[in-house]
């Protein structure tokens, strides 16, 4: 019996296993699962978009968001189709969301900004002053490629990329230099260079 592609809606003949239009796998049965997954994904995406909008409360927002926003949200669209086929086999766990919140920055409007760390799109999130980074921070005391944040087995790590002014972790009394790859606990306070301080948050 002909089947309707759950992704793009194309009517396919009974003898094809993959959608002739978008390549999505034919569902085993007419199940509501893929749709609910897609709804969840969409809400995730829009939540991130909203997050970024919330950050833009100040009229003149600054570089990091403008540069990281399109990078983070744009690749999501094409991925969605492919993922929908795969996802039902994975446990659809609501994974943790990770953010950094700016505590100090030479760009005042960044302070209070909550920036999502989108490990799904970027397993390794590079931070630095130059535009090829995932997160670009406009601070002359931050190196071009300053630090790297990564997710491994549900734990988040930070490492310094041999930056000039260092990456520092607050130990409750003072900032200690990060010399090797270091695990970030929830609410960790990190100093990048001399003038930028962020807080790491897991929700």
């Amino acid at each position: 019996m002909p089947w309707k592609c759950p992704v793009c809606g194309t009517e396919n003949d009974d003898n094809v296993l993959y959608c002739t239009n978008c390549g999505a796998k034919r569902p085993e049965q007419v199940s509501p699962q893929p749709e609910s997954v897609s709804a969840q994904q969409q809400s995730n995406t829009s939540a991130i978009a909203q997050q970024v909008q919330e950050q833009s409360q100040q009229p003149e927002q600054s570089l990091p968001q403008q540069q990281s926003t399109p990078e983070q949200s744009a690749p999501k669209q094409p991925e969605q189709n492919a993922q929908q086929v795969v996802v039902p086999q994975q446990p659809v766990s609501v994974s943790n969301r990770y953010y950094i919140i700016f505590i100090a920055s030479p760009v005042e409007s960044l302070i209070k900004t909550k920036l999502p760390l989108d490990f799904e799109t970027f397993p390794n999130i590079s931070i630095g002053r130059s535009p090829e980074n995932v997160i670009v921070i406009p601070d002359p005391a931050i190196s071009r490629k300053h630090a790297l944040i990564s997710l491994e087995n549900n734990e988040v790590f930070i490492e310094d990329l041999n930056s000039t002014n260092g990456t520092w972790l607050y130990d409750g009394k003072q900032f200690q230099p990060i010399k090797s790859k270091t695990k970030l606990d929830n609410n960790a306070v990190i100093k990048l260079g001399n003038s930028t301080i962020v807080k790491f948050v897991k929700e």
């Binding site: 919330e54 409360q57 100040q58 009229p59 005042e108 209070k112 306070v189 930028t196 807080k199």
Partner: protein, 290 residues
């Protein structure tokens, strides 16, 4: 420049006496209407705009939150305007000290040179002595007004009231923090500030405990070069910045019995860029955070 050396020296000396006779913590005051002016940094045109609100009777009282000099070109004229207003109505014009009312900053950010250019070293000495006796804070309409924040150890308003003057730096670490610290509601406790040694970001729990413990509505302060205003802790902690050098809006906060008005002024033309009128600062926090 209109003011002569003699006139200005006389003004500084009288104001020094006034400050010396005031408490380190002014008030409490309760005004039907009052304006709060943040850092002006030598932008005397913004100070004069704010003073017009007071002189015209739109507001009954006016609070200057410190940082009158450095960075901008007209520190002398700015001080002249503020001190003359103070002498005209000591119980309605509230003038507190900022971290730029100190040689620690004046030697590096322009005011010392400005005074040498316009007057001489002796006049700067007099100004320096005046700065060292200025009050550190005021309680106005149940808000604590300070330049920076509270210190990380403070739990009571009395600790501000008991700060000893004169103190030129100030050297007292508690007074120093009142002028230099910044509030941050995304942290608990405190962390060292990027501004330098002995300066801290003061976290949510310390701020809330102080506000509740002293039955305050909140804290109104300056010190950070924000685009007019920045609100923390659901509007309980407000930054007002009223200068021109940062190129963003100069903010003036007006508080009335029936609500508040936040003015965003173009720092050059003084045209209104925007205005938020709400019932209270919590509503303002909500509307800004949308």
């Amino acid at each position: 420049m209109t003011v002569s050396l003699n006139e200005f020296s006389k003004l500084i000396n009288i104001a020094t006496d006034v400050f010396s006779n005031q408490s380190s913590l002014l008030g409490p005051y309760d005004f039907d209407s009052v304006a709060f002016v943040g850092d002006t940094h030598g932008a005397d045109h913004i100070t004069k705009y704010a003073l017009k609100l007071f002189e015209s009777g739109e507001v009954e009282g006016i609070v200057f939150l410190g940082d009158y000099v450095d960075r901008g070109p007209n520190g002398v004229e700015n001080l002249e305007a503020i001190l003359n207003a103070l002498l005209s109505a000591k119980d309605k014009v509230i003038v507190i000290r900022g971290n730029h009312e100190s040689p620690l900053t004046n030697l590096y950010y322009g005011f010392y040179k400005e005074v040498l250019k316009k007057f001489n070293e002796t006049v700067y000495e007099d100004i320096k002595n005046m700065f060292s006796v200025m009050p550190y804070g005021a309680v106005v309409n149940n808000y604590l007004c300070v330049h920076g924040a509270i210190s990380i150890n403070m739990t009571s308003l009395d600790e501000i009231k008991n700060l000893i003057r004169p103190d030129e730096g100030p050297n007292d670490p508690e007074a120093f923090q009142v002028l230099w610290n910044d509030p941050r509601d995304m942290i608990d406790g405190y962390i060292p500030s990027v501004r330098g040694d002995g300066i801290y970001y003061v976290g949510r729990d310390i701020l809330e405990k102080f506000i509740e413990g002293n039955k305050l509505k909140g804290i109104i302060r300056g010190h950070e070069a924000v685009d007019g205003f920045k609100l923390f802790l659901n509007g309980k902690v407000v930054t007002v910045f009223s200068s021109a050098y940062h190129g963003q809006s100069a903010g003036i906060l007006e508080m009335f019995k029936e609500g508040i008005k936040m003015l965003y002024l173009d720092p050059t033309t003084l045209q209104k860029r925007g205005e938020i009128e709400t019932k209270n600062l919590l509503e303002a926090y909500k509307s800004i955070s949308l």
